[in-house]
Each structure stands twice: as C-alpha cells, then as structure tokens.
C-alpha cells in the first residue's frame, strides 16, 4: 500500500498542478461583482487543497518506511483496498478499452446488439461456460430491458444507426 500511496500522491500532485496552472485559469471567467468571489475560487480551493494534502501524503508515505507499514483495515472496502499494482492497472486498462468499445459501437449498432454481445462476453470472461445460459441471458436480458424502458418509460434506448 505504501507504493500505491506514493504513486497516488504523485499523480494527484501532477493533476492539481495541471489544474491550477492551466485548466482552471483557461476555462473560467472573471467575477462580475467586486464583492463576490471569482468563479475560479472554489475549483482553485479544491485543487489547492488536493495539492497540499497530496504533498503531505507523499511525505508521510516516505516516512512510513521508517516507522513501519500500518495494516489497512478499511471499514468501507474491507479486503478490497488491497493496493493498486500492475494487475489492477491491467484490469483498469481492460475496463477503459471495454468502455470505449461500448461507447463507439453502441452509437452505431444500438443497445440491444451491443448489450447482448457485451453480456455474453462478460459472462464468458467471468467463467460461465453453459451455452444455454449464455444465449438465454445474453439475448433475453437486453431485450427485456429494452421492452421495459419502451413500454414503461416511453424511452427508446440507442437504436441501430448504420448510415
């Protein structure tokens, strides 16, 4: 967890610097009243706090080596907060790639086809090997969701659009 904390702190310091130096000044307007705060005040305050706290976290993580690693007993996540290593990075990259594929393909092929394909591949990825279940859930579930959203809420989920 110490290495994770160091990397997280470094990423947050970089992110806050980018926001403080470029993003916030370039994409916010000046104030309209002399008494009011600048619209950029709150983003700057939040990012400034992140910069200071991440700096402190970086320093404390470095010091941890001297005082010994504390076991993480997190009430919110329990054993889930196991540290962010190479495996987790690969999983995150997989998720980002899958998300991009979903976003792009759903615009053209619609919800039903893409959700079906996604569902089948996800179930297979999770270890489900029974063909009947793959077919039934993979095709039935998106169709059911599509029908419910249309008949109950009059909302049409993304449709096939090949032109």
């Amino acid at each position: 967890m110490r290495i994770t904390d160091l990397i997280a702190a470094a990423i947050l310091i970089t992110l806050s610097l980018v926001c403080l130096v470029w993003l916030i000044p370039s994409f916010t307007a000046p104030p309209e009243s002399a008494l009011d705060l600048r619209p950029s005040f709150m983003p700057n305050l939040a990012m400034g706090s992140i910069f200071l706290l991440a700096g402190l976290m970086f320093y404390l993580s470095l010091k941890k080596q001297e005082i010994g690693e504390q076991p993480l007993d997190d009430e919110e996540f329990g054993g889930e907060a196991s540290g962010f290593g190479v495996t987790e990075l690969v999983y995150l990259a997989t998720w980002v790639f899958a998300s991009m594929v979903i976003m792009v393909s759903m615009k053209f092929f619609g919800y039903q086809i893409i959700a079906s394909l996604f569902l089948i591949s996800m179930m297979f990825y999770c270890g489900q090997r029974r063909l009947l279940i793959l077919a039934l859930v993979g095709v039935g579930m998106p169709v059911l969701i599509w029908q419910i959203t249309w008949h109950a809420f009059s909302i049409q989920l993304p449709m096939i659009k090949l032109y």
């Binding site: 967890m1 994770t4 926001c19 994409f27 916010t28 307007a29 104030p31 309209e32 009243s33 008494l35 009011d36 705060l37 619209p39 709150m42 983003p43 305050l45 939040a46 990012m47 992140i50 706290l53 991440a54 976290m57 404390l60 005082i67 504390q70 993480l72 007993d73 997190d74 009430e75 919110e76 996540f77 329990g78 889930e80 907060a81 540290g83 962010f84 987790e88 995150l92 998720w95 980002v96 998300s99 759903m106 919800y111 959700a115 996604f118 569902l119 996800m122 179930m123 990825y125 999770c126 270890g127 489900q128 279940i133 859930v137 969701i145 959203t149 109950a152 809420f153 909302i155 989920l157």
Partner: protein, 500 residues
C-alpha cells in the same frame, strides 16, 4: 405534528404508492441477498427509474429498497457466513452457528423482526426530531452553514476510512468535480470545454451509479476472474419445531432491541458514521450488558437482535441531517438527496416549510413500509434463498447492462453513459487504493452548498469573513472542525508512530 402526519397518511395511502413501496422492499431484499450487491447498489441503479414516478411514490419506493436491502443482507450472513452487506457481518457471528444447528429459519425470523423494530424506532425518532431540528436550522444563516458544511467534510473524511488525508483528498476531488458547469452566481462557464451536456454540471446519476454500483461490480468481476470461485448451493427449507420463534423468545430481547435501536439512531444522526459501525456498536453493547456474554458468537438470538436492530435504526435517523440541514449522513442518504433533487425538492431547512406535505407523506410511507416489510419478509423467507444460488458470473454482467440503461433512461444521452463508465474506472482505482468513495460522493453533493453559503457570506458581509468567528454557532463548528482535524490527523499519526 399529529395532524400533519395524518395528512401525510391521507396522501400516502393509495394503491399506487403501496404498490411501489412493496416493489421497493422486494427489490431491496433481493439485492441484499444477491452476492456482491446491497442496498447502495440497488439505490444507485434504481434512482433514475423513479424519474417518472410521483415524488411520494418515488421516495417511498427508494425507502423500501433501502429498508429491504439493509435487512436482506442478513440472509447470506446467516445461511452462508458470507454477509451480503458489510453491516451484516456481525449478524453472521450468531446467525451462522444457528444455521449449522439447523435453526436457520429461526435466525432469519429473528433478524427480520429485529430489523423492522429498529426501522420503526428510528422512523419515530425521525418524525419526532425532524421538525424541531428544522426549526433550529432555520435560524442558521450563510456563515453558520459554511462552518457546518466544513465540519461535515472533516467528520465524514475522518470517520469514513482509516486515513483522514485520503478522506479529505476524496472530498476535495468531489468538490472540484461539482464545480464543473455553469457558475451558480454569474452563470459563466467553468471547465465545460463548450460541451452543452456539462452546462448543468456532472450528472449525479452518472456519478453515483459509476462510482458506487458499477465500480463495485467491475471490481468483483476482476476478482472473480482471478479467483474463479463462483458457487453457492443453499437449501434452507427445513421446518421443524426448532425453527419456531415464539413471541416470548422474541420479546425476551426487548432491552437489547431498544438499546441497539438507540445506538443505531444516534449513529444515523451523525454524518459520516456508517451502518457497519452501528451494527458492531450494538453487538458490542449487547455483549457487554448481557448476563451471559459467553453465549455470544455461538448462535445466540440476542446477538442477531442487537446487530439487526442497530443497523436498521440508521436508515430513518440518517434522514434527520438530510432533511433538516441538507447534509447527507451516509451514502444511502446521499443518494436520497439525489432522488429528492430529481423531483425538484432541495433538502435543507426550507424543505419542511416549502414541502411539509411531501415530507409528512414520506414519513407515512416509511411507517407503512415497516408493516409491508414484515409481511413480505415473512412470506418470502424461503423464497429469498433461491436468489443466493444465482452465480455471480450471471448477476454481475447483468448489472453492468442495467447500469447503462439506468443512466440512459432519465438523460437520453450517451455522453452521460460515457461519464458513468469513466466514473466506474475512477471508483475502481479508488477502491483498490483505499480512497473513500463516500467522501467523493458527499464532497460532490455538498460542494455546491458550500460554495453558495460561502459566496452568500462574502456578499452579505462585504467580504468580511470575521463574521465566521463572531457568530457563536459558526465558531463552535469551526472549533469542532479543528478538533477533528487534530484528533484524526497529527494526533492519530503520532499515536501510531509511538506504538511502532
């Protein structure tokens, strides 16, 4: 107050509302029972669906989901020693030994009745305290609100996880994300990159579903891939005399039920203290006060009663700060704030004044939900077990496609779906590295309130911030903020350093 409540019942008792409350409880219990789900995931996915309901039906439905989800988590804890929700972990200590002794139905009955008792108690606390608290809160001005929100940030960050710094970092990131969109005073663009979809700010549904529900699901999908364990086979259909829970047996724990309900309600009223903490405090207190503490952990009904009454008593009480101050006490309350906003109701001191009828209708719905909960829970006691046998390899991918539909329904926008997928990735990274998602979401919700309160203070007092120190309430909360920063920051760090 009584006449308001009766008026609330008049509004709430319709077939339409009762149907949605019942549906909410059934869905909540199913989500509580399903491995890896829980009331938070259920709430996050189902809030967009309520967009098309009337406000009373919508909130009644979500209250049902929350109540059902909280008690449903006890079923896998009792039957499998695998709590469906973190707050049911203590239930497993006494529930599972009872299952091994062939008394699982009895344990589940005790859990259900205790849960409903805790719920009912905390709903009564909410009804009794909401109006007086709101009356006090009405006296608060922008400086007081600024200090209270600052205090809430610190309290939540300090208590939500192990690290105050990580909690504050997550809350600051939430505040930053909440500033994207149009400026609340000048209506000028802030970091929108000209994207029209961002003018209204980041969508609360996309954020909540992504970080809370979807990130948990993808984390479990990857864990499942790595570990490959996905089989549960439970059969709880035994019915013998041993599984009968007599009224005398149940009421013999009345002191424990009352004590745990008080603990749960007190925990629920304070922002940042989780449901799990209430459950463990209730269990610990019952064990300490018991004449037979050695029986705890060996299949003692009092242990189940203590845990379930305490964790369910949080559900109603956490709406006290939500309704009176607009400050959500925990994740479920934060999601409820989102639901209120979807229906045009802004939680805060003015809520009781502007929407008094709606508030009392919601209270009436909550009371009725308890009655429905006990009926549904009792009828389905054998039926819920079926859901536990559904493999995770089917449930988890189905939840992903449900999430996509859930975000698309109220927004009709693929941009928001993309935002949710991005938040899911962020949530996954936060989960693995131990950053609190509770703080992120609550920072996101309280950020706009904090900014408005601060800017109103600046405009009203001509940029003279000394008002923050001259108002006694504001000063008191600022002192408390500093105390918590010291207590959970440098003091905790020095203590752990001295230990090692």
């Amino acid at each position: 107050m009584l006449s308001d409540l009766l008026g609330g019942f008049e509004n709430a008792i319709t077939l339409y509302n009762l149907m949605f409350i019942t549906m909410g409880i059934v869905i909540g219990i199913i989500f509580g029972v399903l491995p890896g789900m829980g009331s938070i995931t259920a709430l996050a996915i189902l809030i967009p669906v309520t967009f098309y309901m009337s406000p009373v039906a919508a909130i009644g439905f979500l209250v049902g989901v929350n109540k059902g989800g909280t008690s449903g988590g006890a079923i896998p804890a009792i039957l499998l020693n695998a709590p469906g929700t973190p707050e049911s972990a203590a239930t497993a200590r006494d529930g599972y030994p009872l299952t091994k002794a062939g008394k699982s139905i009895k344990a589940m009955k005790m859990s259900l009745y205790s849960s409903v008792f805790g719920d009912l108690f905390s709903d009564c606390v909410l009804i009794l305290l909401a109006a007086p608290f709101a009356a006090i809160a009405l006296r608060f001005g922008p400086p007081e609100f600024t200090s209270i929100i600052l205090f809430s940030f610190t309290l939540i960050a300090a208590l939500a996880g192990k690290s105050l710094i990580k909690g504050l970092l997550a809350a600051a990131l939430g505040v930053f994300l909440s500033t994207i969109g149009l400026d609340p005073v000048d209506s000028t663009q802030r970091m929108t990159f000209g994207e029209v979809e961002l003018f209204d700010g980041m969508n609360i549904n996309a954020m909540a579903i992504g970080t809370l529900a979807l990130s948990s699901v993808i984390s479990q999908i990857f864990d499942l891939r790595r570990n490959g364990k996905d089989a549960t086979n439970v059969d709880a259909c035994q019915d013998t005399v041993a599984n009968t829970l007599s009224p005398a047996e149940y009421w013999s724990t009345w002191k424990t039920l009352l004590r745990s309900s008080c603990i749960g309600s007190a925990v629920g009223m304070l922002p940042g203290l989780g449901v799990s903490l209430a459950a463990f405090l209730g269990y610990g207190a019952a064990k300490r006060m018991s004449k037979t503490p050695e029986k705890f952990g060996t299949g003692h009904l009092e242990g189940i009663a203590a845990t379930e009454a305490a964790n369910s008593a949080v559900v109603g009480a956490n709406l006290i700060p939500t309704i009176t101050l607009g400050i959500p006490g925990n994740l479920a309350a934060a999601l409820m704030v989102g639901a209120f906003m979807i229906h045009g109701v802004v939680p805060g001191p003015m809520m009781m004044v502007d929407h008094g009828e709606l508030v009392y209708s919601i209270f009436a719905c909550m009371l009725m939900a308890n009655l429905i909960h006990i009926i549904i829970g009792r009828i389905g006691i054998r039926f819920w077990v079926v859901f536990m046998n559904v493999p995770k390899s089917i449930i988890l991918p189905v939840v992903v496609v449900l999430c996509i539909a859930g975000v698309y329904i109220p927004t009709n926008s693929m941009f928001q779906v993309g935002l949710m997928l991005a938040f899911a990735g962020l949530g996954y990274a936060m989960r693995k590295s131990g950053f609190s998602i509770v703080c992120l979401v609550i920072g996101f919700l309280l950020g706009p309130m904090f900014e408005m309160a601060l800017r109103q203070t600046m405009l009203m007092y001509k940029s003279d911030l000394t008002i923050m120190f001259s108002s006694p309430i504001s000063l008191a909360f600022l002192v408390l903020t500093l105390f918590f920063c010291w207590r959970f920051g440098p003091a905790a760090w020095l203590k752990s350093r001295n230990k090692t």
